[in-house]
């Protein structure tokens, strides 16, 4: 048993906090309250300093396949409310290709991502919460696949070099790469103003070589993608809720009413303490899921538990933070509002708490 952070983990965290702290000051964040929330300078900075290679094997120029390091990155991105939507690129595309692809041309995507090129995924479908069973179809015709369907909430699709799409075919589930030029993209405006797109795929023809995994491994690869996405989104949620809790502690230790700082009222300090407890639970279930996913490709229950805690914690801490800040919390000149929006995204994307409770329930009762 050892819960200590390794020295180099702390170094990664410190140095990321330095970079992100500078690039995500309230003034700079304001510059990205625009239609396309994406800080290219920050991407380059992360690339130059090697942080886009966290969790990627050394042979592609990364820093090694330790998912724990990738978790630190997403925790930091959440903590600073960074104007970067990178789950599609760094998790869905990079990690799934790393684990499941055998083709050199696919693996070369890893080196490209490390340099700062954007790739993305299109996995989620409107009104289909059963992500393992895509409605999007691929008709296989010899060496060609013809794809039809609609995906949404695809991050940064307009600047992505390739889009990783989940489809159902008569060979089962497949993960395939398509060019963004082959599909119709429409930007959607979402609650946290993240740059997400609707992806319409109409009779798009691709080669069989665009399938990123070995034959028969599609479902396994998609399940892995969903699980690692859940865990890393939970790390994003951890960063977001850590920041909100620290804002609560600072604000209530300064704000005075009735001649004393409001943090000295037990009703206030106890609500803050409850946030601390939630946060500690979220951190621990994330760590467990991350460590297990490092050595095991299928840890669905650990991932579900992390995402369940992430969903509940985001909800509870967000409203506690707003409440304890009073009017300051909802004022867009203060910083809290951005975190509240991000918290809702972390809570709902790729499985809500209730949905995941149902899944976990099925899993833990099925082996009986």
């Amino acid at each position: 048993m050892d819960f200590s952070e390794l020295g180099h983990h702390n170094e990664i965290k410190d140095s990321l906090n330095k970079i992100l702290g500078k690039e995500c000051s309230p003034e700079k964040l304001k510059e990205f309250d625009v239609e396309f929330k994406h800080n290219e300078t920050l991407i380059s900075l992360l690339a130059i300093n090697g942080y886009l290679g966290l969790g990627i094997h050394e042979q592609y120029g990364g820093s090694g396949e330790d998912l724990y390091e990738l978790g630190i990155l997403f925790e930091c991105l959440g903590f600073h409310a960074a104007p970067l939507s990178l789950t599609g690129c760094l998790i869905d595309v990079a990690q799934t290709i790393q684990k499941f692809s055998q083709a050199d041309n696919h693996k070369s995507i890893l080196s490209s991502i490390i340099k700062g090129d954007i790739y993305t995924s299109a996995i989620l479908e409107p009104f289909n919460q059963d992500t393992e069973n895509p409605i999007t179809r691929a008709e296989i015709n010899g060496d060609k696949l013809i794809i039809n369907g609609t995906k949404y909430l695809s991050e940064l699709a307009s600047i992505a070099k390739k889009i990783l799409v989940s489809v159902t075919s008569n060979e089962g589930v497949l993960l395939v790469l398509v060019d963004s030029s082959q599909v119709k993209l429409t930007q959607l405006t979402s609650t946290a103003n993240s740059p997400v797109f609707k992806v319409e795929i109409n009779d798009v023809t691709i080669d069989r070589s665009s399938i990123i995994h070995a034959q028969g491994k599609g479902l396994e690869a998609l399940r892995y993608l969903i699980q690692i996405n859940m865990v890393m989104r939970s790390y994003l949620a951890l960063g977001v809720t850590e920041k909100m809790t620290s804002l609560i502690a600072t604000y209530t230790s300064e704000r005075k009413q009735f001649g004393r700082v409001i943090g000295t009222f037990q009703a206030v300090s106890h609500r803050a303490a409850d946030c601390f407890i939630e946060l500690e639970c979220l951190r621990l279930v994330n760590q467990q899921a991350c460590i297990n996913l490092n050595t095991n490709l299928d840890c669905e229950n650990d991932a579900l538990i992390a995402k369940i805690w992430a969903g509940n914690t985001c909800h509870k801490i967000s409203y506690s933070a707003q409440h304890l800040h009073g009017g300051a919390g909802v004022d867009k000149d203060y910083v809290l509002w951005r975190y509240c929006l991000l918290a809702k995204e972390c809570e709902l994307i790729n499985g809500s708490a209730s949905q995941n409770i149902e899944k976990l329930g099925i899993n833990i009762t099925s082996n009986q």
């Binding site: 390794l6 502690a249 209530t252 037990q266 639970c281 149902e358 329930g361 833990i364």
Partner: protein, 393 residues
Amino acid sequence: MLIQLNQQQAKLKEELHEYFKGLITPELRTELNNTEFFEGGGPEFKKAMRTMGADGWIGLSWKKELGGKELSPMEQYIFVETVMRTGFPFPFLTTESVGPMIAEYGSDWAKEEIATKILDGELIFGIGYSEPNSGTDLASLQTKAIKQSDGYLINGQKMWTSLANFSDYIWLAARTDFEVKNHKGISMFIVPTDDPGFSLSPINTLGDVRTNATFYENIKVPDTHLVGEQNQGWSLITSQLNLERLALVNHGPVEELYKNVLQLAEKTKINNDQSLIDLSWVKQNFAQVYSGIEALKLICWKQTWIMESGQLNMAEASVAKVYGSEFFIEAYRLLMEIIGEISLLKNDSELNVLNARLERMYRTASILTFGGGTNEVQRDIIAMAGLFMPRTR
């Protein structure tokens, strides 16, 4: 970062599991199902304690030179977990809190007579801390011990002295100085329950756990019954609080209960085709409990690791206490919902399930949210030590 038991720890768990299988005889199980004896004190319980003493399973936290095993906090946690899973009312406070303090700070008499017998499984202590007017504010206690030429004269009353009805001694906190600040005037004594000045009256509680009010009238004890220096008792009271609190919220028993209810739900047919476990809301209740247990396990393991690495982290210990005690209440509720009305039947009733454990546990659950350091005080500690907020008033 490594979140799992190592080989040695896993082996210990296995070993203890096997040991308790042998220790808990059907006779002992029957005795423990009797309300009068489920906290211990019966003849089979006493026999089992002596066996454990002889087999070297008492004194796990004690230093080796005091005759103990000097197990690490993690190993102690595993021991507590395994014992609690069996339901055996192991007297942790006597053997793991009072015992090592007497062995270390007691007089020669106390070391030879008392500490040795605790290790042998011969003695049980009741804990005399709380009083009618001193609960959460324990340092305000008023039971007094007046120094005389040949010992101390003790007068006062204690509340919630559990096990006093079958214990041999009371580990008593008494005021020896009324002039100094509250916590600076307290000393610890070993008080024999066969003294004519000792009496008790039972307090029957919601959970059918018997506890007692205990009375101390002109009890005279020799100087050898003082443990530690006079007026230095407070540090003995607080020295092992973190370990004690952690033992209260060990994840073992609730996980055991979860497993038992899961098996029951699988066996229980609700019609020709379906078992209880096939209902979607039942699965969801199980998932709520399971995701809560996982968090509790991790919190406890982390707190144990913190102690093992010699760090002091007050906020984390309080997180474990608050989260654990409040989660138990929620978990019992969710599991009782699954079993339904039949979980209302008591253990002497026909048709009861799982020895009516849930029927009793929901009635005892509230003890932990206020006992062992009330959760309000724990939240105060979390806000101060974890979030660096100002002290509440």
